[in-house]
């Protein structure tokens, strides 16, 4: 009887250890792709990331060399255009959810924003194609920037709201008690206090849409040359990586790896900066 119980106890402990081991192996499997992808990016891309890559235009098929300067600049221009739409709408919308509104309406808006976050990014491409490209008869940087900007809105709304809610109420009360009007209190006291967090949210949203390809396929469209007019098609780094990756040319494959390495490095850098900005607090933000 007694030994039976001991055996049972031992068995239960073994089972527990086994479960822990399985969970540990699962965790390793989950992060394995990160290591593998990064290893292959460096192994295949590092040799092609050179001065030319950052300063030269793509070369035609068959000519070795060339770079992606137009795609890098194009991506930055698209992010700039996206910011014009995404940042004001997102930040002010987040301010509303944190500072105004009734609990019920706000929880509904929050719900809609979360659902909107789940809309596949390719859908945005189709919608902006219908809204802008068909109407103005052509692919353009504006259309691409709009698609990315719209994707940023729900992301920024939610992060902004969260950090504004962290601002202690005493700050608001102090300003209001001094006779400062409500909106000035929000802009100069509340938003200023939360500015680090707001910027964090914006950076994360930019890092996220900076890697998006699907919404650009039929809005920004891509361009092998410099874009001199925002109403014309424009190159973007993720688009160029896609085009090169599915091409049959070895040299383009090398360029794709190099572009991917540069893009991932940029995105990881933003994430590291964000981690430094928010160190020690609101880990849930990141």
């Amino acid at each position: 009887m007694n030994s039976g119980r001991t055996n049972n106890h031992t068995w239960r402990k073994i089972k527990s250890a086994l479960a822990s081991t399985i969970a540990f192996v699962s965790a390793l499997l989950v992060i394995a792709p990160l290591g593998l992808v990064f290893f292959h990016l460096v192994a295949n891309g590092a040799s092609s990331v050179n001065w030319d890559f950052f300063t030269k235009l793509p070369k035609p098929v068959g000519v070795v060399g060339g770079g992606m300067v137009n795609a890098i600049m194009g991506s930055l221009e698209l992010l700039g255009l996206a910011s014009v739409i995404g940042i004001p709408v997102g930040v002010l919308g987040g301010v509303y959810l944190a500072e105004y509104g009734s609990a019920r309406v706000n929880s509904l808006l929050r719900f809609v924003a979360d659902v909107l976050n789940g809309v596949p990014s390719i859908t945005w491409g189709v919608v902006v194609y219908g809204l802008v490209v068909l109407r103005f008869k052509g692919f353009s940087a504006y259309a691409g920037g709009l698609a990315l900007g719209l994707i940023m809105i729900p992301l920024i709304i939610r992060t902004t709201e969260e950090v504004i809610l962290l601002v202690p109420n005493g700050y608001r009360e102090a300003a209001l008690a001094l006779g400062v009007s409500r909106w000035k209190t929000i802009v100069h006291i509340v938003m200023k206090t939360a500015s680090k967090g707001i910027i964090t949210g914006i950076l994360l949203a930019l890092a996220r849409v900076g890697g998006e390809t699907a919404p650009l396929l039929f809005t920004a469209f891509g361009n092998r040359f410099w874009n001199h007019n925002l109403a014309e098609p424009i190159a973007a780094l993720p688009l160029q990586i896609f085009t090169y990756a599915i091409s049959p040319y070895d040299d383009w494959h090398r360029q794709a790896w190099a572009g991917a390495l540069v893009l991932v490095t940029g995105i990881f850098c933003v994430n590291v900066v964000v981690r430094i900005l928010t160190r020690g607090r609101t880990a849930s933000l990141v």
């Binding site: 479960a19 989950v30 992808v37 709408v89 919308g93 301010v95 789940g118 390719i122 996220r208 890697g211």
Partner: protein
């Protein structure tokens, strides 16, 4: 002389304090409130605009093909015959494969992170998972084409064929680009989101649950299984559905490895096609109006299913009181 003491400020719930403290309305205040309200309403407007634009863009196709669009499998742009069944099939099968792979791994990892792992290992692991979530789809696709597919073709696929070749699912020639490869790459894409939402869910389980189990002599695993998992069941289901929503709409990586052939085949070694992939591949090639209309309708189907998945997921997550969890990975 008596010094007037300030009236005690009642400590009410913060939201209502703020409103009670609002000074009498002035023009600037009203204007600012309306401005921010307009921006917040953008999310509602956007959902409506997406639905409206997709419907508008596909109205002719809807009229012409009706319900048959969803149930026929001819995709012939030249003859202007469009049936979306192969894409619906491909989307469902690849997402199902992805869930079969990603759900056990993600939930086990989440349990490891909240219940089983030594404390010092937790935060670094969470950071790594966030980094995985930050890898763009197109880069995972690039890796898929040049690293994953050749490897799958050389080692795991032949092994699967040797073991399960007698079933229709693993029969036939091995090309590499296949439904199975598509499912695997989607699994990698959705691992981080299911893991971090599940982790938030498990973290929201009250400690009393665990303490009760330990007090009864439960081992660590027993406490996790009995006290934590059963309590968090609904929320974990929400995390899975959220992952499904992402899987259905995953585009670039899957387009690069699934083979892009509109067919319905039992063998997972055969190439497939998904709703999102056909839009990505054929949209700029749509030369006729009806072709474009059909692609818009595919977009509408995709939007409808992902919205549905997200609605269900958010409702399940909200009942667990962890709405913020969905933002853990973005």
């Amino acid at each position: 002389m008596e010094i007037a003491t300030p009236p005690a400020v009642a400590t009410v719930e913060p939201h209502s304090t703020r409103r009670a403290m609002a000074p009498p309305s002035r023009f600037g205040d009203k204007a600012f409130e309306w401005l921010t309200l307009a921006m917040a309403l953008a999310v509602v407007v956007l959902v409506v605009v997406i639905g409206w634009q997709l419907w508008l863009g596909s109205s002719l196709a809807i009229k012409k093909f009706g319900f048959h669009f969803l149930t026929t499998s001819t995709w012939d742009p030249v003859a202007e015959q469009f049936g979306a069944l192969p894409f619906i099939y491909g989307t469902l099968v690849s997402s199902l494969i992805a869930l079969l792979i990603a759900v056990p791994l993600s939930i086990a990892t989440a349990a490891y992170l909240t219940e089983l792992a030594p404390l010092w290992i937790r935060q670094p692991l969470v950071s790594l998972i966030e980094m995985l979530a930050a890898i763009p789809s197109v880069i995972l696709g690039l890796w898929g084409i040049f690293v994953m597919i050749p490897w799958l073709r050389d080692y795991p696929f032949p092994l699967l064929k040797r073991l399960f070749g007698w079933t229709p699912f693993f029969a036939g020639p091995i090309y590499g680009t296949s439904m199975l490869a598509g499912g695997i790459i989607i699994a990698i894409m959705i691992l981080p989101i299911i893991t971090s939402v599940s982790r938030e869910i498990l973290r929201s389980v009250p400690n009393l649950q665990r303490e009760a189990a330990y007090a009864l002599g439960a081992t660590r695993w027993e406490a996790t299984r009995i006290a934590v998992f059963s309590y968090a069941k609904k929320g974990l289901f929400g995390a899975v559905i959220l992952g499904l929503g992402r899987a259905l709409g995953e585009t670039m990586a899957v387009t690069m490895v699934i083979g892009n052939t509109p067919q319905i085949a039992a063998s997972l070694f055969k190439p497939g096609y998904t709703l999102a992939s056909v839009i990505a591949n054929e949209f700029t090639e749509a030369t006729t109006d009806m072709y474009l209309q059909a692609l818009f309708e595919i977009g509408l189907v995709l939007f409808g299913t992902t919205i549905l998945a997200n609605l269900v997921a958010q409702i399940l997550l909200q009942t667990m009181g962890t709405t913020s969890a969905t933002r853990a990975v973005q």
